[in-house]
Every structure is written in structure tokens, then in C-alpha cells.
């Protein structure tokens, strides 16, 4: 007891040192270097001879915001997150209510079934979906045809390519959020439901006045985490559409990848990375603010 602070003081540092050293060298340092990179004209020539790099100030950022391709990528990414995020959350909540329903048997089995898409390799299932979306032979159009809907060129039509990718993303990710919702549902005290039932609340009223408010913090968390993940859209369009048709599925990260690793315009690409960073931080801060004000309201 007496010797502990001093004795474990040194030891603690030894235990965290490997992880911290790795994080410092391979994460913190690159992030800071990225910030520096974003104000330079680092390009293919600089990869060979870093000395040739020049400072350009905020010119990369200025050029980005004037660049139609970048604005399209931001718009596409926001579209994907703003539509795909809520859809994913709605599907997850629906699935959570289903597998958590009192009357359902084999709960664990259904949870596993719904969760399975989440563990699959994205590139592989994106390739599968490419064929499901085939305009002539795809099963999606076949199923739609059975109910009288004319075939859609899902991945070849600029209007439909992003919705097609959103559908894949919802399918892939809802199971993960479902589990978080299930945990949230189980944390709502049973007495609240009993009290509501005693007051004569119908199932729908119990859902509105007990379940939904009880899930509010969970929902906020799920929405923000999902949106942050969706801002990083990359492998789906990479494997399904290469960003096309007509740039309709080019995301911020896809553009970042092309600028950085295909054209080696690293300065430009680093600026894109920090715009992405700003988007993510804005969302995370928004969550903090909402959560804090909600907590204050419930405390008052």
C-alpha cells in the first residue's frame, strides 16, 4: 500500500509506452504532418525530391472550394450520409424492436441473422450487389418486375447510383446499430412499462412515451457514429461504380484517394482530408452540445 504510488509510477509508463509510441509515430505525427502538407504544393516531383516543396498557404483550400469536382464529392457524401444515416438508424431500431419483442422466440438466432451482413468483407459483398443490380439479369430488377415496376439501370443511371449504394450500406450496417439499440432497450426499467400499462396506455402510447424517450441518448449516439462512418464512404463506390456514372458516386474519400495516390497531388489531398476532419468534428461537437442540453433539461 505505502510504496505503491512510486513503485507503480514508473511501471505504468512502461506499460503504456509501446502503445503510445506506436500511436505517436503512426498516428499523431502523420495527422500533424498532414496539416503541414495541406499548405504545400507537395506533388509527384516532391515524392522524389521533398526539397522541391513550396509553401502555398491556404491556396489548396481555396482551389478546392472553387473546384466543381470537389463540391460534387462533398455534395454526394452529404447526400449519402443524410439519407443513408437516418435510413440505417430506422432499420436498426425496427430490427431491435423486433428481436427484442416479448413474444419472439430464438432471439439470439435472429440477432445473429441480422448482424451477419455487418461482419462480411465490404468489397466482396459490394461485388455481389453489383450483380444483383444488373439492369438486365439482376435479381433486384427481376423482383421489381414481378410487381410491375419497369427495370432501372441502378448503377448506370446517375440518379439511381447513389440510392443503390445507400441501400447496400443500410443492409450492411443496420445489424451493428441494432445491437446497440437492443442494449438501450434493455436498459429501460420494466417498472416504467408497468406503470404506463396501469395508467391504461395502449402499446403505441407506451412506445411513444416510454420507449422513444428512453432511447433518446442511444439514438443520438447511433446517429452520430453512423454519420461519421458514412462521411468516410469509399469502398462501396470503389468496387461498384468507380465514382461514376457522371461523378454521381464520387465521395470525398474517393476523391482524396485519387488525388493522393493516383495523381500524387499530396498537398491537395491533405487539404481534402482536413475538410473531412472538419465535417466529422462538427458532428461530434453537435452531439456533445445536444447531449449536454438534454442532460440539463432533465436535471432541471
Amino acid at each position: 500500500m505505502t510504496a505503491r504510488p512510486a513503485a507503480t509510477g514508473r511501471a505504468g509508463w512502461w506499460f503504456v509506452a509501446p502503445a503510445l509510441a506506436l500511436l505517436a509515430v503512426f498516428f499523431v505525427l502523420p495527422v500533424l504532418a498532414g496539416l503541414a502538407l495541406s499548405v504545400t504544393d507537395f506533388d509527384l516531383y516532391a515524392v522524389a525530391d521533398p526539397g522541391a516543396t513550396r509553401l502555398v498557404g491556404l491556396r489548396n483550400y481555396a482551389r478546392l472550394f472553387a473546384d466543381p469536382a470537389f463540391r460534387t464529392a462533398v455534395r454526394n457524401t452529404l447526400y449519402f450520409a443524410a439519407v443513408g444515416g437516418p435510413l440505417t438508424v430506422a432499420a436498426s431500431l425496427g430490427a431491435a424492436l423486433l428481436v427484442n419483442a416479448r413474444l419472439v422466440r430464438w432471439k439470439a438466432f435472429w440477432r445473429t441473422v441480422f448482424f451477419t451482413p455487418f461482419v462480411t468483407t465490404l468489397v466482396a459483398v459490394a461485388i455481389v450487389w453489383r450483380y444483383l443490380y444488373h439492369p438486365r439479369y439482376g435479381l433486384v430488377n427481376y423482383a421489381l418486375g414481378a410487381v410491375g415496376v419497369p427495370p432501372v439501370d441502378w448503377l448506370g443511371d446517375p440518379r439511381w447510383a447513389m440510392p443503390a449504394i445507400i441501400l447496400l450500406a443500410v443492409w450492411k450496417n443496420f445489424g451493428y446499430n441494432m445491437l446497440i439499440f437492443v442494449a438501450g432497450l434493455q436498459a429501460i426499467p420494466a417498472e416504467l412499462y408497468e406503470a404506463a400499462a396501469l395508467d391504461g396506455a395502449a402499446p403505441w402510447q407506451r412506445f411513444r412515451h416510454v420507449t422513444l424517450p428512453g432511447l433518446a441518448p442511444t439514438t443520438l449516439f447511433v446517429v452520430v457514429v453512423t454519420m461519421i462512418g458514412y462521411f468516410q464512404l469509399f469502398a462501396e463506390p470503389f468496387a461498384m461504380t468507380q465514382g461514376g456514372p457522371l461523378e454521381s458516386t464520387t465521395s470525398v474519400v474517393l476523391l482524396l484517394y485519387a488525388e493522393g495516390f493516383r495523381f500524387w497531388r499530396m498537398g491537395n489531398a491533405a487539404a481534402i482530408a482536413f475538410v473531412l476532419f472538419a465535417l466529422v468534428v462538427t458532428l461530434a461537437l453537435l452531439q456533445r452540445v445536444v447531449q449536454r442540453s438534454a442532460r440539463q433539461r432533465s436535471a432541471a
Binding site: R4, T120, I127, V128, T218
Partner: protein, 265 residues
Amino acid sequence: MLLGAALLAGGAAAVFPMVWMVAASFMRTGEASTYPPHLLPRAPTLEHYRALFTRLDVGRYALNSLLVAALVTGLSLFVNAAAGYAFAKLRFRGRDRLFRLLGTALVVPTQVAMLPLFLLLKALHLVNTYAGVVVPAVASIFCIFLVRQYALSIPDDLLDAARVDGASEWRVFRSVVLPALRPALATMSIWTFLATWNDFLWPLIVLTDDRRSTLPVALAGLLGEHAQDAELMMAGSVLTVLPVLAVFLALQRYYLEGVTAGSVK
């Protein structure tokens, strides 16, 4: 019953793409591109799997993936367990501030570090090496949080008893802490293994030589040349997805623990 119907419909939608993937992988060339579509192969064939393993050498890519995922998992187990335990149980100067800092770093998208990291690896001559994929992935803030959360529940008396018996801190960690952390370590290993196996963007960037590609990257490459050959691509997808599904189904109890642990902050 309505509930049962909804479950069945949802479940079918969840597994259908995978079922079709497996079915199409056994179809003869061209059979997946017929109208009306076949759900089951007329005359099941292994020709695409044979082509993948002989002509297209996917066995090599699978081994690459296995090697990378196993190395990351093994190393991260140790590094993150030590750090997570220290943040939970050992007192050292600056601990709490450091831990808060790590929490803040969680919001930084990994893509922000990607470009300079590539240049750094290039300077270290690690581009196009397995080390270039493995080493940056070893330390994980998420895993440190997971272990810390679990390590908080180890009783201090247990650790002190070992110390009184004259065990060094290292010894305490190895003989008392690691066994006590076993469930958390299992969760973390499966989590890390699957995430590394499924990772796409970083291996795509670092492993520039095709022969070192991981399976997902190789699959995306195959798509470039064999996009018309739906059945072959399905067989390739099966080989990429099946191992993770098997690991997940066998060890899902541990895997799912990580999901909820990750959400409770």
C-alpha cells in the same frame, strides 16, 4: 402472425445476397446472366473455384490476408492489453490527461493520417512490405478503451497480494492480469482479426506489388479484368467472406460483447 412475418422478411433480406453469392459461385459460366434469373445452379460446378486457385492464385492472397490479420491481432493483443490495464490500474503522472487525449483522438478520421503515413513508410522503406500494413495497425485506441473498461473490475487486493508476495509489475501483469482479462482479450482478438481481414483502403495503398495483396484488394483487382465473369467473381467473394463468417459464427458470443462495450462510453 405479423411479428413472425416481419422477422422472416427481414432475415431473408439480410442473408439473401450471401445465399445468392454462394449459389451463383457454383453456376456454369454465363448462367448467372440469364433471364429469368436462376436462384440455384442447374448443374453445380467447381470450375470457378478451380480457376481461382490454379490460374489466379487466390491461395496466395488468402495466405497474405491470414498473415497480416494474425500478426496485427497477436501484436495488438499485447500492446493494447498492457496499455489498457495501466490506464485502469496503475497510477502514473499525467495518466488521466493522457487518457482524455486518447478519447479526443477517436474523432480523428484515419484518412487524415493516411498521406503523411505513406510518406513516412516510404522514408522507412516499408512501402510494399507486410510491416507497412501491420505496424501502423497494432496500437488501437478502441482496444485500449475496451481493455481498460474490463480491467477496472479487477480487484486491487488481488494485485496487491501478488505484489506483497514479491512479484514484479511485469510478473503481476503476466500471471494475474492477463488471465483475469481473458474474456476481454478474446473479444478484442476476434474484433481485430475480422477488422484487419476486411480492411481495404490501407492495404490497397501500401501493398503496391500485386503479389503481396490481401484478399479483398486482390478481389477488387480481379473485378477489373473479369467483371463479365459473374460466377467467377462470386466464387472469389465466397472465398473472401466465408472465413470471416466462420470465425464470427464460431465465436460470436465474444464478438458481440465488443459491440456493446464499444458503445457504452
